[in-house]
Symmetry: C2
Subunit: 309 residues, 2 copies
Amino acid sequence: MSKALIFGHQNPDTDAIVAAKAFAYYQTQMGFDVEAVALGNPNMETNFVLNHFDEPAPRVIKTVANEVDTVMLVDHNEAQQSVSDLDKVMVSHVVDHHRIANFQTDQPLYYRAEPVGCTSTILTEMFDESKIEIPAKLAGLMLSAIISDTLLLQSPTTTDADREAVRALAEISGEDVQSYGIAMLKAGTNLAAKSDKELIDGDAKSFDMAGRSVRIGQINTVDLADVLDRQAGLEKEMQAEMAADGYDLFITLATNVLNSDSEMIVAGEPKSVIEKAFNTTLTDNRASLPGVVSRKKQVVPPLTAAFNA
Amino acid sequence: MSKALIFGHQNPDTDAIVAAKAFAYYQTQMGFDVEAVALGNPNMETNFVLNHFDEPAPRVIKTVANEVDTVMLVDHNEAQQSVSDLDKVMVSHVVDHHRIANFQTDQPLYYRAEPVGCTSTILTEMFDESKIEIPAKLAGLMLSAIISDTLLLQSPTTTDADREAVRALAEISGEDVQSYGIAMLKAGTNLAAKSDKELIDGDAKSFDMAGRSVRIGQINTVDLADVLDRQAGLEKEMQAEMAADGYDLFITLATNVLNSDSEMIVAGEPKSVIEKAFNTTLTDNRASLPGVVSRKKQVVPPLTAAFNA
């Protein structure tokens, strides 16, 4: 067989980049002529991972039919998530952990899907089944992909297979899962690269509650301290926006995606309604909200109720 | 998970029946509550296999949503080959060796496809990977499925994986692949159950060659002797049809599907044109045609050319 390209989905995340590299290594060991490429540049988290393991970023491609007849897909199968000219080539292999939709072939193919948290988990199993040793560096990359997809094994998509793969890959790579994983996820959220204004603007939305204009934003992080250490600057920007846009109340929710806890920073009035809504006391314009992760389901409804009481 | 049904395609062949049974055993060992069923009754070959291993035929079902929420597919994936109400249930697992088409799910699933000769080959690999021992009787059934799909490893779809699975399953089951395989394929063609007239009528077609009406039929077998031993009876029926339907020449081709050789039995005239067409000599109205398997590509063209010369 002539050379085949291997790639993950558009807007690649760490698993899309790493699974392509891992499957390319696997297929090379099996005797195939392949190259791992990508449909976009690595994101901040993936760049952290590649730098950490001194691994080059893959070549970015826009089309495939101009250079190969055959491709192998990882971490996706739906045509609209794939390369634009997928219909012009043969898909010989797929390794994925998503549903199957908008995908079809003319010929029998190799297709391996499992309902687990990460493609790199399936690849870990395949290396084991085929008795191909995973080099330490590649194990570190694959470990990173699983940490990324499962949010350090905390996501509800996590399975026993993911936990077992993480255990095996950590042993091979010698990485400390917890400390490395948090550093990696932190690099992905990369709050340090954003201004106070960018942080509070993020995905903030406005709500009308009993005639008051309430602004609620949310910042995802792996370390609440990274947000709370910047409280003074954040409050200053919140006050500035309240003045400029006429909000009565501005709440910024900092959410730790790893343990599903939040802390809120509040500017404006009436603060008493907030304390009533969440049965808490604001100290230095702040309060903890243990177990709160969803603005839509856990913040807006009690606050609305408290305003209307 | 509640009970799931496992089944192969409509008009089941030996692999469709056996792969369902094998995957049901595998999933039971993995802790799932499953039942192997079928979308139709076993064919003659499969009945031979089930009888040989004293294995009951699976329950035949017409719909699934009336009894389960979840199904697992083997040896097919395209909706039009599957159960009529497939869209009403969740497909949690697929094991198959065909192309993927007209198949989609809402949820991630377990999908295992390989471009090999038989689903039971993939299942043999899965048992090995999961370190689940295959019972001797099941190994015999799976061996039968591979022999069936690959015509005793002679079909061009046969891969090294099929050969390796046959080796392993033969060892476990203790079956002699060649003698058992031929008996099994013979049971599938089951010429004994057909009358001489049924045999020559089979798929016979009429051709006009230089003004002569030429009738050419073909009988597939695993043992040419099964056809040739009945030559007298076959010739008698050929003569009767020639008289009734006005054919000048009647050729019945007996083709050994295992080694791609044919033997022809000829009634009527002109026999000299046949001898010229195939560069052979008819003895007792018969001649060997080594390597001839296709009426369309290897019999009609040279005969037409000889008639027109």
